[in-house]
């Protein structure tokens, strides 16, 4: 059920977003340096899991939200509406996973 998926993904995102915001402030204390950040993230199972979960939750949450906007404001229906939501969700998932892979595993 989309409603449940939307609410559960929101519940997952709420603490993750807060940690992410705090982390941004913390991470740039020594200057915004890619090499410095990569030393902390590379090979880190914790950050890989954290941002991996982040990406999955965002993909689900944003896709369902866009589906509602498409339905209400663009009056889309049926297959077109589902295709829009699915492509948005998959797009976010692919781009997000690629980014997490780049800073954790590559």
């Amino acid at each position: 059920m989309l409603y449940l998926a939307q609410r559960i993904s929101a519940m997952i995102l709420a603490p993750l977003v807060l940690v992410h915001l705090v982390l941004i402030v913390y991470a740039i204390q020594g200057g915004l340096d890619a090499a410095e950040i990569l030393t902390r993230t590379r090979g880190s199972v914790i950050w890989g899991t954290f941002y991996g979960l982040f990406v999955v939750a965002v993909s689900v949450h944003a896709a369902i939200g866009l589906r509602t906007i498409g339905q209400e404001w663009l009056r889309l229906k049926g297959g077109v509406l589902d295709a829009l939501a699915l492509s948005a969700g998959l797009g976010l998932l692919v781009l997000g996973t690629r980014a997490v892979y780049a800073v954790v595993a590559a």
Partner: protein, 247 residues
């Protein structure tokens, strides 16, 4: 006391499904006067072709709702003094319902949605069975009682932005009715009703804008009823009670 020197400037929407426009009327302003009185005065004294709907005139039948100065209201219990701005009134048909003529709307879609939301009582006993003992103080009965006084006036339906955006959305009145039945211990269609109201055009489409609760003339809270449906149907889905086999 009548004072013929005071006049109301009343702008009334006149037209049919093909289109329409506002027409201005001058109506004697009285000390005690409802919006329905004003519309009736126009029909009796200015233009007998004006179409509108009313029945009981005492806030029970739910047939006289119109848009008054941009707000959906039951006109029989709305005093002109409360809503007129500088002795000016604009009266239009309800939003979100197709116009038949002038101020009369076609309510059939609104009532069809009551049916779609399974707003009918499904009996589990007959006259030969013992009467179900239900405590008025029980939580479920209190929930049902809180929403039971709906008079089907469609004010909430006209106020709802989700109905305006999605024509298939069941709307606050039908969902409020469904919530009263979800809380009726005697009803035998609980799982089927929850499945229906949890569908794509059901309770989960509500954005909780609360326009329905703001303008309900009976001061009901359909938003709270819809929140109850969201909660109950979510729990039912998580516990497997929303499946077709759940009965």
């Amino acid at each position: 006391m009548r004072d013929n020197s005071r006049q109301l400037e009343v702008r009334v929407w006149r037209g049919d499904p093909s289109g329409g426009r506002h027409i201005d009327y001058r109506v004697p302003e009285l000390d005690n006067q409802t919006v329905l009185d004003v519309v009736t005065w126009i029909q009796r004294n200015s233009d007998p072709s004006l179409s509108y709907r009313f029945a009981c005139r005492v806030g029970m039948c739910g047939s006289c709702a119109m848009t008054v100065n941009g707000v959906p209201r039951w006109t029989c219990r709305t005093h002109v003094r409360k809503v007129a701005q500088d002795s000016a009134l604009t009266v239009e048909p309800l939003r979100n319902l197709p116009v038949i003529k002038d101020l009369a709307c076609d309510m059939s879609g609104f009532f069809d949605k009551w049916d779609r939301a399974m707003g009918r009582f499904h009996a589990t006993a007959n006259r030969y069975d013992a009467i179900a003992a239900i405590s008025p103080d029980s939580d479920r009965r209190r929930e049902a009682d809180a929403g039971i006084e709906c008079i089907n006036c469609a004010v909430c339906y006209a106020a709802c932005d989700v109905v305006a955006l999605r024509t298939d959305y069941l709307g606050p009145a039908a969902l409020n009715r469904a919530w009263t039945l979800v809380n009726d211990a005697r009803d035998g269609a609980q799982s089927a009703r929850l499945r229906t109201v949890a569908s794509d055009a059901g309770c989960h489409s509500c954005h909780s804008h609360q326009s329905c609760s703001t303008w309900c003339p009976n001061e009901l809270n359909p938003t709270a009823s819809i929140a109850g449906l969201k909660r109950t149907s979510s729990i039912a889905a998580l516990t497997g009670k929303l499946s077709r086999n759940a009965g």
